[in-house]
């Protein structure tokens, strides 16, 4: 796979040229269960700039979706959150999404400033409401004209006639497009799209990705949560790789795909069908029992004794971050 | 004795005529300046009638506000004429009774009362197709005829001394009822009578609303309306009385005593002929021994029962004739407190020796028996437990058993039973069937099969003789014999307790019968009550 296939992504403005929109600083999320504590997000640092499309990739259960919910204050009651995630917008005060409280989030932030395309659209739609009612309700709540519903449907590639169906009458792809339309309705400055291409066939995947790309080109920011590396490579400006609650590598898309520095990122790329097609050996660790050192160490070909005992450093590389004791130097890709 | 259900049947106490007579005889304090019929009076009772029809047992012992009988009773329970112009006359052979009707008495619908209505009423009771349990009381009636519009003639099968006492039955209009099925007719719910009050409405389970009968022959009632509220639950009745909803309510003694200290209320404890006692069946091998029965009679602490269970609202009982009756024999009265020593001595002498576990025994038979009581009757339960405790002290083991009547019925021949009944009107009424050997073992009549020739003779004498002095002697002998034989352990006479608002004036309590509901209660003369 080469970067030349990425199309419009190459032409987009590079990250770092505009002001930061979201700065996540030392974010941690824990769930208390009856007999265990789950660390879903650990010491996470991130910056998203206006006009940037950030892709977060990783295996299922690594904490991607929890991160999304944490940013919107939608975690269940047994979750504890630490750290900060500050939203800077040009025409308003900075808001710390972690500490500002539910009331503020509900009134000022959700939908309008930070939108979410939720995962698993089949369950994310109220089963007793038609798409049109849901859309109209959302538009009205944000002071938009409910007549925009049809246009939104067309935007996401949905036949407006299908808006009058109930969710159980929609196919998985139709439901996916509907939840995307719902998230787009308030026109948020930051859109978090959690697996927005699930259940879509290839042309619709491209359609959706282009739609997200266009939003960034118009100055909004998008965080694309996905396990589809190809999609990330196609549209993202930067890519963050998450493993066992941590971001292990966050770099410009081209750099990551050509020269991954973290052994896990490298292994992940190797698992792609058009590369080595070699699955990552071993299983990811339980989030209830994370090792004191590097969580990837047990599966890592480069591991040393330090890896098992010491948490990896997070030095800021010239073009991103890598959390590894023994990062792979440039050109190590097979 | 009451059945499971409270006794609904004989309801309203006062009779029209009685009311009128009270005006004359007792100088009822109806002040002339009080405007005729201002108030609505509200009384509360637990006992709701099933049907407002005298033929079906409503207002039998007094015609119950809505109806009048040929005769009525005054505040001393003496018979006085009501619909009849005078007390009916009895022929020398005692088998023909003739009554003459008052002129111009009208039913509530305006129809004039005639002798045919009286004859119809009694014939209806005697009609086998009518589900009336009164028929047994009128066994002696051979025929009832109305030779003319104002004369009624009863022919009896045999002379019956207290027959006039049976003529308090309320009279119904024949025109409205003849040809109807009396068991189911709508008349039973909205009846027409001659009494001081008309039925305005009856909401079963809630209330009976009566309005004054302007044309009442005994004079217009002093109150425009009377509401009888039916509240089955004692506690609820007490609560609602406390909340000021009623002018008068019947309450159990303990609940009534809660009102004693409150000047806004007056508690009336009315003497009665209503006794409670333990029927001791001769079919029980332990109780068949007169020594055991006499020992029990000595061992029960009647004074403690009166104070502890009745809250003072009662008197110790030693026989079925109440002390208030002219027939009462003073010599049969014992001591109210227990005499365990004398009782034990009696048992020792009869061969009942102390045995294992403190229970006496004779010839290997332990002194124990079962004492049944109707499960829904709290008072009888309490008395049964008190008897049990007293018996234990003299080495007799009693097992109380709370049962329903159908479970009690088949066991009455061999197990003791806490019973109760009593009417103040004539000693023949209940005692004749309760203690005569001819009724032995017949249902509730003489369930313990008590047999005594002396008692039988005395009871028959009391029924046959017209002469009051002879009757009195007969009943004195009857009471003495009972005190000797102890077929029953008489425990207490009750006082029926009523709570009235202090503002209510004009009550004239009279000795009450066991059955007292809407009418044979303290408000039997409510048509003359006033508020101060």
């Amino acid at each position: 796979m080469t970067t030349t296939e990425s199309g419009p992504a190459i032409a987009s403005p590079r990250a770092g040229t505009s002001e930061p929109l979201l700065t996540v600083d030392g974010l941690g999320v824990e769930f208390r269960l009856r007999d265990a504590t789950v660390r879903a997000v650990s010491d996470l640092n991130l910056t998203v700039r206006a006009g940037e499309l950030l892709a977060i990739v990783g295996e299922s259960g690594c904490g991607k979706s929890v991160l999304a919910h944490a940013l919107l204050g939608l975690l269940p009651g047994n979750a504890t959150t630490t750290g900060h995630a500050v939203l800077h917008e040009p025409d308003s005060e900075p808001v710390d999404l972690i500490t500002c409280g539910q009331r503020h989030l509900a009134r000022r932030v959700r939908g309008r400033r930070v939108g979410l395309v939720p995962q698993s659209p089949a369950t994310a739609l109220n089963p007793v409401r038609t798409g049109r009612r849901l859309l109209a309700e959302t538009l009205r709540a944000h002071g938009h004209d409910r007549a925009d519903a049809d246009q939104l449907a067309v935007d996401v590639g949905l036949d407006p006639a299908d808006l009058d169906r109930y969710p159980h009458e929609l196919s998985g792809g139709m439901a996916q497009r509907l939840v995307t339309a719902l998230a787009l309705a308030p026109d948020p400055s930051l859109l978090i799209a959690d697996e927005p291409t699930t259940g879509l066939d290839r042309p619709l995947v491209d359609h959706t990705l282009d739609l997200l790309r266009r939003r960034c080109d118009n100055g909004s920011a998008v965080v694309l949560i996905t396990h589809d590396l190809a999609a990330a490579q196609r549209v993202a400006d930067t890519v963050a790789v998450m493993y066992a609650s941590r971001i292990v590598e966050h770099r410009d898309t081209d750099r990551l795909f050509t020269a991954p520095a973290h052994p896990y990122a490298s292994a992940l790329l190797d698992a792609l069908p058009d590369r080595a097609f070699r699955p990552v050996p071993g299983d990811p660790p339980m989030l209830t029992a994370l090792p004191p050192g590097c969580a990837f160490a047990p599966r890592c070909p480069h591991r040393t004794d330090t890896c098992a005992s010491q948490p990896p450093p997070t030095p800021i590389a010239d073009d991103g971050t890598v959390a590894c004791h023994h990062p792979i130097r440039t050109g190590a890709v097979t | 004795m009451t059945r499971i259900r409270p006794t609904f049947r004989r309801l309203v106490a006062s009779t029209a005529a009685a009311g009128m007579l009270v005006l004359a005889a007792c100088s009822t304090p109806t002040s002339p300046d009080s405007p005729a019929g201002g108030a609505t009076l509200v009384v509360a009772t637990s006992d709701e009638p099933d049907a407002l029809n005298p033929v079906l047992n409503f207002g039998v012992d007094g015609a119950a506000l809505i109806f009048d009988g040929l005769v009525a009773r005054d505040s001393d329970n003496r018979l006085v004429p009501a619909l009849a112009t005078a007390l009916p006359t009895v022929s020398p052979d005692g088998r023909t009774v003739t009554a003459t009707l008052r002129d111009g008495v009208q039913f509530h619908d305006g129809a004039t009362l005639s002798a045919a209505d009286v004859a119809f009423t009694y014939q209806a009771v005697l009609d086998p197709k009518v589900d009336s349990t009164l028929r047994s009381d009128l066994d002696m009636v051979e025929s009832v005829t109305a030779p003319d519009a104002t004369t009624v003639v009863f022919r009896l099968r045999y002379p019956y001394a207290p027959f006039l006492q049976r003529l308090t039955l309320g009279i119904v209009p024949s025109k409205l009822l003849s040809g109807q099925d009396i068991n189911t007719t709508g008349f039973n719910r909205k009846p027409i009578g001659t009494g001081p009050y008309k039925v305005e409405s009856w909401t079963p389970g809630d209330r009976l609303v009566l309005t004054a009968n302007e044309r009442y022959f005994g004079g217009r009632p002093a109150n425009n309306r009377v509401v009888v509220a039916f509240v089955a639950d004692d506690n609820v009745r007490a609560q609602r009385m406390r909340a000021g909803e009623f002018d008068a309510a019947e309450l159990p003694p303990k609940l009534a005593s809660g009102f004693d200290s409150d000047t806004a209320y007056r508690v009336q404890r009315v003497p009665t002929a209503d006794y409670r006692g333990v029927m001791l069946p001769m079919g029980n091998p332990v109780l068949a021994d007169p020594a055991v029965r006499r020992a029990l009679n000595l061992a029960v602490d009647r004074a403690a029962m009166v104070s502890g269970i009745l809250g003072g609202a009662g008197e110790p009982a030693f026989g079925p004739v109440p002390p208030t009756s002219e027939f009462a024999d003073p010599s049969t009265v014992g001591t109210p407190t227990a005499d365990a020593t004398a009782a034990s001595a009696l048992l020792d002498a009869a061969g009942w020796k102390p045995g294992s576990g403190g229970v006496r025994a004779k010839d290997g038979r332990p002194a124990r028996f079962t004492l049944m009581y109707p499960a829904t009757d709290t008072l009888r339960k309490d008395l049964a437990l008190a008897v049990t405790a007293d018996a234990k002290k003299i080495g007799i083991e009693v097992t109380p058993a709370g049962l329903t009547w159908d479970a009690i019925d088949p066991r009455m021949k061999s197990d003791a039973l806490l019973m109760g009944y009593g009417t103040p009107y004539d000693p023949d009424f209940v005692s004749y069937k309760l203690f005569s050997s001819q009724f032995a073992g017949q249902g509730y009549f003489n369930p313990g099969s008590y047999r005594s020739e002396v008692t039988d003779r005395a009871l028959q004498e009391g029924r046959d003789q017209i002469d009051p002095a002879l009757r009195k002697a007969a009943y004195a002998q009857f009471q003495k014999q009972l005190a000797t034989d102890v077929p029953w352990l008489f425990l207490t006479y009750l006082r029926h307790t009523y709570v009235l608002k202090s503002s209510v004036q004009g009550t004239a309590p009279r000795v009450e019968a066991h059955e007292h509901g809407v009418a044979n209660s303290i408000w039997w003369n409510i048509n003359t009550w006033t508020r101060s």
Partner: protein, 330 residues
């Protein structure tokens, strides 16, 4: 799919339910009749009450013959069920009037009591339960749940007595019982309402815990549903999320719960009517039981069962109408 299309099978559903309910009710009636026939109670003595003491055996036998209670049992049953089918519910031996007129005179009050109490309990529990769920774990949530558990373990008649002691006797705000002021000349609705506040309140409060806890749990769970999270993520106002989305979907199983809870409500009504001496079916049922009045008891039981079955059917149909996923098949 249109609503009318989905509900086209409603008629067939009703027919099918009837097809099952009728034989089961018939079988139940046989069971009840057998129990009644096996009962040791003598209806004539029951009827005579205290007068059985003075009434002779022949007197009672004649009454029995008048009623036909000495006929063979199958004959009696067929007569009873035959009359029942023709709408003649029989003759009440404890009330001395036709069973139908006992029911018609009293059922209205019981229905009113149950209806108002149910409405009150539903509205109250939906509101309180939703609010508790919205701030679950909060002070209000914990207080409400504690109260619900406490009330749930209190016998309803005890609750009624306590209410009388406090609101009628101590405070004097409401009457202690009855349906209208005893001196009232006619039934005025204001008066009835004043009398019904306490009993309705007690019945509603005693039944509410089930509903409150269910709503609270269902809404709390529903608040974690993906679609509710999604609604929150879209920035919809809290009220809309709570009542428009979380409650709306939790409401559907709630409908069924209400349907199955109706018999419980009837039982509560019997006790409340007894405590507050209301002239409804409850009081008459107890009197009939004490008097072993078979025709009345059997009729009350069968009629209330039929009413509850009809109510269940209604809630099921309402469920179908409210949930677009359900399709009634003919």
């Amino acid at each position: 799919m249109t609503r009318s299309g989905r509900l086209a099978g409603a008629g067939a559903v009703v027919r099918r339910r009837l097809l099952v309910a009728v034989p089961v009710l018939a079988a139940t009636s046989i069971g009840m009749f057998a129990l009644g026939a096996a009962s040791p109670v003598d209806p004539a003595k029951q009827y005579a009450g205290a007068a059985a003491f003075t009434a002779s055996e022949e007197n009672l036998a004649q009454i029995r013959a008048n009623w036909g209670v000495d006929d063979p049992l199958p004959v009696q049953y067929l007569r009873w069920i035959g009359n029942l089918v023709q709408g003649d519910l029989g003759w009440s031996t404890s009330r001395h009037e036709p069973v139908a007129s006992v029911l018609s005179a009293r059922a209205g009050w019981t229905l009113l009591l149950i209806g108002v109490a149910l409405a009150l309990a539903l509205v109250g529990s939906l509101l309180l339960g939703s609010l508790a769920a919205y701030r679950r774990g909060g002070l209000f949530d914990r207080a409400l749940r504690t109260a619900a558990y406490a009330v749930q373990s209190m016998p309803v008649f005890w609750l009624g007595l306590a209410a009388i002691a406090v609101f009628a006797l101590a405070l004097g705000w409401f009457p202690a019982g009855g349906l209208t002021d005893v001196t009232a000349t006619s039934t005025s609705w204001a008066d009835v309402a004043h009398h019904l506040i306490l009993p309705v309140g007690v019945l509603a409060v005693s039944q509410a815990p089930w509903f409150v806890l269910f709503v609270r749990d269902a809404v709390a769970e529903s608040m974690r549903d993906d679609h509710v999270l999604a609604a929150r993520a879209r920035g919809l106002p809290g009220r809309t999320v709570l009542f428009g989305h979380a409650l709306r979907t939790a409401l559907l199983p709630f409908l069924t719960l209400v349907g199955t809870h109706l018999p419980e409500l009837v039982g509560g009504a019997v006790l409340v009517e007894t405590v507050f001496s209301l002239p409804g079916l409850g009081a008459v049922t107890v009197a009939a039981a004490l008097g072993s009045d078979f025709p009345l008891l059997a009729a009350i039981t069968l009629v209330t069962t039929a009413v509850v079955l009809a109510a269940n059917l209604t809630t099921d149909l309402a469920y179908a109408a409210a949930d677009p996923r359900v399709r009634l098949d003919g």
